[in-house]
Symmetry: C2
Subunit: 473 residues, 2 copies
């Protein structure tokens, strides 16, 4: 029996990030500009630093991590890989379960893996303020921390539902030196418009993105340009997250094991990408000793892959971003206030969409009550209170591990424990007091949103067919 | 430059706890029974398992850690020792600062180091329920976790002030499978009496201890005996905490350094004891390469050592415990609702009292606003949000490190970072919004409490003089 915690030295923090783009089954479809219906990146060059744009469109497989970023990674990286001995015992499964735990970071989740390089590149290019949105508060906290490290101001637009559910996330952002504003807010035209229509709105990630982007675009007029930063979906973010997967490969080598199946929850898709991309590279480069399967787990309350359309859609409700090739529930998606704020985004990373469409990964939808049931087993065996987002992956892992009992297979299962749930205790309180409800997003609503989208852009169908292989639409 | 995080392997988890008692400058004064004024342990044998009582009175220097306990320790132990490179830089100090971080445990603090063996020994002796009190909620969470691990029920009486300030601690205890009750409660005669006198009382640790002890004593009548467990003060608890100090010694050996000064906050004194006792043993056994100094840091709002009397007093407000030889503010002490709930206890470990009286350790009192000022510097440099309790030690460390600038001394400073502050965000919110106030406990009140105590036990002066060397009274 090897150690419960498989640990690496700081010198083993990866020196490069892995970019999946050159290894995809086919090239990524381009972004489309809403004005023309033609390929183009729209506002992207106006809101990101050059280094980030370079990474976003890069075709390079390996990209160097700056020393200054690795130095900050040392605060919490390499993160531990745990063997879930006690969970296995609780489930009575012959399966071997491992989890890569990203909850030891300053913000309590994987998000700092990308916030640190994003803040760094902005600082290098002379930017002094950054803006962003946050759903669950994980990304906002992570950006606040990173901005502080590199001496930047930060303005975080936090989805009202989460802002109310998790007031302490705001305090955490303040502790790191940043400002946190409930979204929709009266700071932006987009926010004011939505508040005028519905003053009691709970907000959405799509709305908050719109506000953070608008803040960045408008800041030019003040003479003090603020850049926008993003916590998921974009290629560069997913790529930054691969430090987790690359470390995990080294950790599996230490115990002479290799995963048969990898699970992760998906909101925008970055934490899951960060864990499985390097293993996908093993596969495409014929180095994988096993036929590893990859499972993305989404909530039934926000089933963009299992119930959404693979088409072009905006990343934000205000339609400021270009049209992105992805699985989507529609940019006007209004999430139910379920307790996995980080999974309530209407779209998904374009890379995940390609891989899902090409059946390189499978997607499972899980309802939140089942997720919390599994979290309870996990807490009482492993002693870690997981973020509700990660609990969705735990549910799928428990199901797989239980199947191994019937088939008596000693399968090796790996999952992403993306963060701790210490700021999600309202959710746990609701669960333990029996008030939590399952929720399924109605399929009709997706169809309605798609109809609206097609009416808005009559050329959309042709464009989608042209660029998206085997599109559902 | 060595690694930021100095890590040990799981095989290096200590196999024995260290007991300071045989190495004290003189024997520990005995407990006294209130009925007779003579040495005796009162209710102690009725509320603890035999193994724990054996450890409490043990004169052995090293006590074996059961394998089952070490197995559970592996969930989070060995804990990391950090070199505070970025804090040193922020303070511009030539001093080398290290901190032993106990916040990675399931409950988020050092408390699980003792809750796990306490639950284990209770389970071994056939007990199926345990009771306890909790101030800040750290100990209550830790006991809840440990009870769950060994299949015990747990009832936690939580001081009302903390129960209201930190509602999520209750949820955490529920998550681990325990019950958490605000104290004073109507579950016990002691609680009902206090509620009748003052229905709005904020409670105190002394009151909560009384309730938990009464619950244990009364349980005998129900045919299902519940034992009491305690989170600090007692020798066995301080001894369980020495896993931290013993690990730290190994970690310092790895980087070929040794502390000149060790700091820790003191509530009941167990986390500080856990860190410094093994280094004190180096000193008494002439193995220490340096004349290490030990600094206990208490809040000005609860200054039991700097302002209290070294005498005999009860551990609880209900006067159920025997009289304990310790520095005290009086068992009727009603703490101000300051934000370091874990430091609001009126007394201190008898071992700490002996060492303080014999000038083997120094004590510093810090006010909470200064503590949070230092916490802010720490958060923005080291990226960890400390528990407010630990922030008191950080304040004293920062003062010392700043003095090193003037004297240009490259001193090695170690402190106990006892836990994270993720459940203390109300306190941080108050601090960051400028509402936090400093508070000093009035000396007159201590004198009043001591007068009352002497009137209650007219023989107290004689007894104190007989057993306590150089007593202040």
């Amino acid at each position: 029996m090897h150690d419960k915690k498989i640990l690496l030295k700081e010198t083993e923090i990866p020196k490069q990030w892995y970019n999946i783009v050159p290894d995809l089954p086919h090239p990524l479809p381009p972004f489309i500009e809403k004005e023309t219906g033609k390929p183009g990146v729209g506002i992207v060059p106006k809101i990101f630093p050059k280094a980030i744009i370079g990474q976003e469109i890069s075709q390079e497989r390996w990209i160097d991590i700056p020393d200054e970023v690795r130095e900050i990674y040392k605060i919490w990286r390499p993160s531990p890989l745990y063997r879930a001995y006690r969970l296995e015992k609780a489930l009575k499964t012959p399966a071997k379960i491992y989890y890569k735990y990203e909850g030891t970071s300053p913000a309590g989740s994987h998000k700092t893996n990308s916030s640190v390089p994003q803040a760094y590149y902005n600082m290098k290019e002379g930017i002094t303020r950054v803006t962003t949105e946050t759903g669950a508060g994980q990304w906002g906290s992570a950006l606040s921390f990173a901005a502080g490290v590199f001496g930047l101001e930060a303005t975080v637009y936090m989805v009202r539902a989460s802002f109310d559910q998790k007031p302490y996330r705001k305090t955490m952002m303040n502790a790191f030196g940043a400002e946190c504003v409930a979204s929709p807010s009266n700071r932006t035209a987009a926010g004011r418009k939505i508040l005028a229509e519905d003053p009691d709105t709970k907000g959405s990630l799509g709305i908050a993105i719109g506000e953070a982007v608008e803040d960045s675009l408008e800041s030019e007029k003040t003479g003090k340009k603020a850049n926008y930063t993003i916590g998921s979906v974009f290629n560069h973010v997913c790529m930054h997250q691969t430090v987790a997967g690359i470390e995990t490969q080294k950790q599996f080598a230490m115990v002479e094991d290799y995963p048969d199946a990898i699970y992760g929850c998906i909101g925008g898709g970055s934490s899951f990408s960060g864990l499985f991309w390097p293993f996908y590279h093993d596969k495409t480069s014929k180095k994988a000793p096993k036929e590893t399967q990859f499972f993305a787990v989404e909530p039934t309350a926000c089933p963009k892959v299992t119930r959404g359309y693979y088409t072009y859609d905006h990343g934000d409700t205000a339609k400021l971003t270009p049209l992105v090739p992805m699985h989507t529930l529609g940019h006007d998606f209004m999430p139910a206030p379920i307790h996995a704020g980080g999974l309530r985004y209407h779209g998904i990373a374009p890379t995940i969409s390609v891989l899902a469409q090409e059946k390189q990964i499978s997607t499972i939808a899980v309802n939140q009550v089942d997720a919390f049931d599994s979290a309870k087993i996990f807490i009482r065996s492993e002693g870690i209170i997981p973020a509700p987002e990660a609990a969705h992956a735990i549910k799928a892992v428990c199901d797989d591990a239980r199947k191994c009992i019937e088939t008596n297979t000693q399968k090796t299962i790996l999952f992403a424990l993306t963060g701790h749930g210490f700021f999600d205790m309202t959710a746990y309180d609701e669960y333990f007091s029996g008030k939590l409800q399952p929720y399924e997003y109605p399929v009709e609503k997706v169809a309605e949103s798609m109809d609206k989208l097609r009416k808005l852009y009559p050329w959309l169908n042709d464009v989608t067919k042209q660029y998206i292989t085997s599109c559902k639409q």
